[in-house]
């Protein structure tokens, strides 16, 4: 043991000698994900490494359980507490079950934030949401308007009539529709998040509104079905499909031109921002309180609401210029 210690301390001293004193003082930030081996989270880890490189004195521990269970994440959290990491940024498998373990982490002086999938407020200092409903509502109509300089008719293909998320986004979209003159939202139809029903609804829209210029589908099922319907109807170039979708599923339709652009959160930015926030809180540069504004590097600042939650940014736009890079990620 003592020999081992000597070797270790010699190595450490040598390393310090060569690398300067900052090396030994690295802040360790753990990025805990729902499960390892998921493209979305691997991309987030890439963003975290980017933030670490920018900050210089940060070491990222990218970890998570094998399956998406709360029990697995608790074992990971216990191991991180034992290592006395400086901060934990977690995408949670369970809103409530992680609270006791994360409370213990905070009791032992570890900064805890949640991102993507949140933890109940008593188990974290802040929650980083990838975006917010007003930002999403604005983005989906903006994407349609950007490709229609002369205006025109657009229609919405949503999920079900009772889908909370989609309804809120469409409501937010209608609030800001006045900012996009010339764009007429002529109809909202529901494909129930089923591929075949969404496809038929999209077909129906094109028949009912021959002058239709764009279909906005704020659902990953609907957007793919609509793009397929446009392709099959031979209307590529006439009707643009946009909304929210996954790059892996939309790559073909972007290449064919059925969809000029669509949006969704960017996992790289999410991992980057989570790391920046954890760093600033752990360093004491900022405090997580309602109304606080916390810097997150190139992503600007995060403004916290009364539940100490904040929205990172507008959904990220994917088009022909970047779809190749992201289609293999998620």
């Amino acid at each position: 043991m003592s020999v081992m210690k000597k070797i270790l301390s010699t190595v450490a001293v040598t390393a310090t000698f060569f690398a300067g004193a900052a090396q030994a003082e690295d802040m360790r930030i753990a990025l805990v994900v729902k499960a390892l081996g998921i493209g979305f989270f691997e991309a987030a880890a890439k963003g975290a490494e980017e933030a670490a490189a920018e900050l210089g004195d940060v070491e990222i521990i990218y970890t998570g359980p094998t399956d998406t269970t709360a029990e697995g994440q608790i074992e990971v959290i216990n191991a991180l507490i034992a290592q006395q990491v400086d901060a934990i940024a977690i995408s949670a498998n369970d809103t409530d079950a992680l609270v006791p373990a994360l409370k213990k982490a905070m009791d032992r002086g570890i900064t805890v934030i949640s991102w993507d999938s949140g933890v109940a407020p008593e188990g974290r200092e802040l929650q980083l949401n990838p975006s917010s409903s007003p930002l999403i509502g604005n983005m989906i109509i903006k994407l349609a308007a950007d490709n229609l300089p002369d205006g025109g008719d657009v229609a919405v293909l949503s999920a079900t009539t009772t889908s909370t998320n989609q309804n809120v986004w469409i409501e937010e979209m209608n609030k800001v529709a006045g900012n996009y003159p010339g764009i007429n939202v002529v109809a909202t139809v529901y494909g129930d998040d089923l591929a075949d029903k969404s496809y038929r609804e999209a077909e129906g829209l094109m028949q009912t509104y021959p002058d239709l210029k764009a279909i906005i589908a704020p659902t990953s099922v609907g957007i793919v079905a609509a793009a397929q319907a446009v392709t099959d109807a031979g209307k590529i170039g006439e009707v643009n499909v946009t909304g929210l979708g996954l790059p892996s599923e939309m790559a073909g339709h972007v290449e064919s031109g059925a969809s000029k652009s669509f949006a969704i959160w960017n996992p790289i930015d999410l991992g980057y921002s989570a790391t920046m926030l954890a760093y600033n809180l752990a360093k004491g540069n900022a405090e997580a309180a309602p109304g606080a504004e916390i810097p997150m590097g190139r992503m600007g600042t995060l403004t916290l609401d009364e539940n100490t939650e904040g929205a990172m940014a507008d959904p990220f736009v994917y088009d022909a210029s970047n779809i190749e890079e992201f289609k293999s990620i998620f």
Binding site: M1, M4, A35, L36, G37, I61, T63, G64, P65, T66, D67, T69, A70, E71, G72, I74, E75, V76, N78, A79, I81, A82, Q83, Q84, D94, T95, D96, A97, V99, P100
Partner: protein, 330 residues
């Protein structure tokens, strides 16, 4: 040479020799090796609080493993244990919504476990069905009920004093769960190795027909074993629910295989007839130490699973290989 001169040894090997060659000795060696490796590999390992936190990785599973060991020795198996946890936890959460206090919650958790065990036992012994089929069925049934009751919701709001079972400490770093694990380990050691009931369990596992003709009430013993397994699952449900502070239908998902792994690693013959409780206790420590040690080094969970798998195969194969070599030499 007269008859009285003939010497017939009681045993072929001395008790000491037997002890050294035993499975338990092998497990002790493995446990010590892992302990030393961990201490050298991570500076955070040898810390009373960290080791205490690490015990939570295996205590609940080990409690079930004790009863499961008896069941497997008798030639049966119960794969529904994790689902019993889910159902018991759901019942406890439901009781909380109705305003139950801590004593009532605990009683309801244990009772649910007993009822589930009785259901399994009645099907296996009453209708003479194979336990592996019955418990694969009840595995879906019990968790299915939890899903029907809870859906994607969670029960929270457990009383604060209920948290003691999963988060409380009896003395310094010795948690309630760890104390309970040791106490149950002692009780099961006595029951299996020092009582008539224990002898009956071995007899049934080796030859149920012979056991029946020797006057052992085979069905009754087996029924009691299913009851015990249900009760232990109920106790584990109380501990786990208390530790998580919430109930979701996915609670303890996949634990049945980890419990069986622990039992087999502990030297219990999966075909029945042999095995010891001290072996299971040691196996629990080995699995806990491996999980925690790898966690400290932030080794991805999948590598951990691979290691446990190899350990299991290795520990089972080694004695076989050993005896073949010994047989060839003789």
């Amino acid at each position: 040479m007269s008859l009285s001169d003939r010497h017939i040894p009681d045993r072929l090997t001395s008790p000491l020799q037997r002890l050294f060659r035993s499975w338990e000795a092998l497990l002790v060696v493995v446990a010590v090796a892992i302990f030393i490796t961990n201490s050298l590999a991570s500076p955070y390992f040898l810390n009373a609080w960290n080791l205490s936190d690490a015990t939570f990785n295996f205590t609940e599973k080990a409690m079930i493993a004790f009863a499961m060991a008896l069941l497997i020795i008798s030639g049966e198996i119960d794969l529904s244990v994790a689902s019993i946890i889910a159902l018991a936890s759901t019942a406890m959460g439901y009781a909380v919504q109705l305003g139950a206090g801590t004593p009532e919650i605990v009683v309801i958790g244990l009772l649910t476990g007993l009822i589930c065990g009785a259901f399994n036992g009645a099907l296996v012994t009453g209708l003479n069905l194979p336990s592996i089929v019955v418990t694969i069925g009840t595995m879906s049934l019990f968790r299915g009920i939890s899903y029907i009751v809870l859906g994607d919701q969670a029960y929270t709001g457990y009383p604060s004093d209920f948290a003691w079972f999963g988060q409380g400490y009896v003395f310094w770093v010795i948690s309630f769960e760890f104390t309970l694990f040791l106490a149950l380990g002692a009780i099961y050691t006595v029951v299996l190795h020092k009582t008539n009931f224990g002898r009956a369990v071995y007899a049934i596992g080796n030859n149920p027909t012979a056991a029946l003709f020797s006057g052992i009430r085979v069905a009754r013993v087996k029924f009691i074993l299913f009851l015990l397994t249900g009760l232990m699952s109920g106790i584990a449900a109380v501990c786990l629910t208390s530790r998580l502070g919430s109930t979701r239908p996915s609670i303890a998902f996949g634990w049945e295989l980890e419990v069986v792994t622990m039992v087999v690693l502990g030297g219990v013959n999966i075909l029945g007839g042999s095995g010891t409780i001290p072996g299971v206790i040691l196996a629990a420590f080995v699995m806990g130490l491996v999980t925690f040690g790898f966690g400290l080094l932030n080794v991805p969970g999948i590598v951990m699973s691979i290691f446990i798998g190899l350990l299991l195969i290795g520990v089972i194969a080694l004695p076989r290989i050993w005896s073949r070599i010994a047989a060839r030499r003789a």
